[in-house]
């Protein structure tokens, strides 16, 4: 066997590796967030003192993010899109969970693989394929009837559908994992006591699923909020925040206001992520 001393040295080496890894994970987040507080026109060293101007100031050239109309509009659209995507994905995810955990039907395995597939199709391709289909439909209707179907052109609806197409898979997997742990005897007991199907669903099964539903909703919200690849092709005039920020970075160049946005988003995501894990934790564990 290996001697205790070498074991200890190897273990501390291992710990150093872990520390370096987490430093690697944290580095870009810190640099993105910290420069929000630098009193300078550029997000770079040297450090010129602490300021909150990039959040609250209301005059150019140091326009703070909470006074920047376009950024706030982006934030608003991101919220709208993410909320719609979450609701849709939770609904379809729950249906899928019952379908794949409770029902038996032909070619179930094949359909299960179909359900997982959207997760590994590149986001860019999901984006263009949905864009192509919607445009084909809009063009077809316009050519044959002369009616312009505005909602099939790039815009809010297409962004929601594009993101939903793969986020639904994530939600399904989260809810399926929870439903598999459900003890069917609990439902049977309720049936034996004379409860109706809807009542059992409402008072027993859905409360059991609630942590997974909340967690799935939070995950869907975050993934939608941060999505770029799929959204890029489907976006119309209602650009969500990631697209607005990207435009700003490429066209205007980066100013610390982008760091301020990053700081707010990092903080928000971290809080939501902690929340999603907290609700998933079993109280009796």
């Amino acid at each position: 066997m290996v001697s205790g001393a070498t074991n200890r040295i190897m273990l501390s080496g291992y710990r150093v590796y872990m520390a370096l890894f987490f430093l690697f994970l944290a580095a870009p987040l810190f640099s993105a967030a910290l420069f929000a507080f630098n009193d300078s026109l550029f997000p770079s060293l040297p450090w010129k003192g602490f300021t909150l101007d990039w959040f609250f100031n209301d005059t150019e050239p140091k326009l703070g993010m909470f006074n920047d109309r376009r950024l706030l509009r982006g934030l608003y659209y991101s919220f709208v899109i993410a909320s719609m995507v979450s609701l849709l994905s939770i609904f379809v995810g729950t249906c899928n969970a019952f379908l794949f955990v409770r029902c038996e039907f032909r070619a179930k395995n094949f359909f299960y693989i179909l359900m997982v597939l959207p997760l590994i199709i590149p986001g860019v391709i999901l984006g263009i394929s949905i864009l192509v289909m919607a445009s084909n439909m809009a063009n077809g209707v316009e050519n044959s009837t002369g009616i312009e179907l505005e909602f099939l052109r790039p815009g809010l609806l297409l962004v929601v559908l594009g993101q939903f197409s793969f986020i639904a898979t994530i939600c399904s997997l989260v809810i399926i994992a929870r439903l598999k742990k459900f003890d069917i005897a609990m439902e049977e007991a309720a049936f034996n006591l004379g409860a109706s199907r809807t009542r059992v669903l409402r008072t027993i099964t859905l409360p059991f699923l609630r942590p997974a539903l909340i967690a799935a909703g939070i995950v869907a919200f975050l993934v939608s909020f941060e999505n770029f690849n799929t959204t890029l092709f489907l976006v119309g005039s209602e650009a969500p925040l990631t697209i607005t920020m990207y435009d700003r970075m490429v066209k205007v160049g980066s100013t610390p206001v982008l760091n301020a946005v990053s700081f707010v988003l990092i903080l928000g995501s971290a809080l939501l992520a902690v929340l999603s894990i907290a609700v998933q934790r079993d109280p009796d564990k």
């Binding site: 590994i120 590149p122 975050l222 890029l232 920020m245």
Partner: protein
């Protein structure tokens, strides 16, 4: 009879959202994209069917060179991500105490929920010519002139690893978590060295997780857009850039659709080959996590 009808109705009601979702948002769009990729414009508003878009792709070396480059770099990123992520996952699953385990896992997850854009932005601030790393090195006196760390392949690979490493760690932790510690101890007791135990016991056990992680990482890398563009600059030659270019800049949707299909076929082929080589199936790996 009643029960059976009720069950059929239930199955139908549950199947409808699934069918609408997969049918309308996944299958139909891909079929439409495939049909579009077979079209070519011969005159304004006049189209013919043919393989011209694909032939065009094969005849233009810059296109398939970009695809090959994307594929090779994605494989490199996948392998490096596995090498970097496996020890981390093993530490979280097997070495960390019960309490720190959850915290470490959480630390791994937080960057997962922060946008690609912000992460790339953070790296840019660190690595560009006027960035933190270059300035710090100057002030310490290690270098005299500012160094540009951006816009090279090494930085792109590093940025991609950063973006995807969590997708490797999560499936690995969940497989390794299910592994009985006694299996590892038994290996040592039978006289196996660290390397033997790793190679003969741990890795075979973790195989489904390894393959699942590799598939997701490879697909995400090959399909990524932001990281190569922002960290590699305009000439990073990533294949998704070509697709964007055809679609948005040149407005040549037919050829863009063909490129999309080429990417999809190529990545699916690599994943299929990987599954064959490792003796796993899609449902035993990705579908499981």
């Amino acid at each position: 009879m009643m029960v059976s009808d009720g069950k059929k109705l239930g199955l139908f009601l549950l199947f409808t959202p699934f069918a609408l979702w997969i049918g309308l948002l996944i299958i139909l769009p891909h079929v439409g994209m495939f049909i579009l990729s077979l079209k070519e414009k011969v005159a304004p508003r006049v189209y013919e069917y043919g393989l011209d878009n694909y032939i065009n792709f094969i005849q233009e070396p810059i296109y398939w060179n970009t695809l090959l480059r994307t594929g090779v770099m994605s494989l490199l990123v996948t392998v490096l991500t596995l090498l970097i992520g496996f020890p981390v996952a093993y530490y979280i699953a097997k070495i960390a105490g019960k309490r720190s385990k959850g915290a470490l896992f959480l630390l791994c997850l937080i960057p997962l929920w922060v946008s690609d854009l912000i992460r790339a932005f953070g790296w840019i601030l660190l690595l560009r010519e006027t960035g933190v790393v270059s300035k710090s090195l100057q002030s310490v006196g290690l270098i005299d002139t500012p160094i540009e760390f951006l816009y090279n392949d090494a930085t792109v690979v590093m940025g991609l690893i950063y973006t995807v490493v969590l997708f490797m760690i999560v499936p690995l932790v969940s497989t390794l978590d299910g592994m009985d510690n006694e299996m590892i101890e038994a290996g040592y007791n039978l006289g196996g060295s660290r390397l033997t135990v790793l190679r003969r016991i741990i890795v075979p056990y973790a195989m489904p997780g390894i393959v699942a992680g590799c598939i997701v990482v490879f697909m995400l890398t090959a399909g990524s857009y932001l990281t190569p563009i922002l960290l590699g600059g305009k000439n990073s030659s990533w294949f998704t850039e070509q697709i964007y270019d055809q679609f948005i800049t040149r407005y040549n949707w037919e050829s863009g659709a063909a490129f999309g299909f080429v990417l999809l076929t190529f990545t699916s082929f690599v994943v299929w080959a990987g599954l064959r080589l490792s003796g796993q199936t899609l449902s035993s790996t990705v579908a499981k996590s």
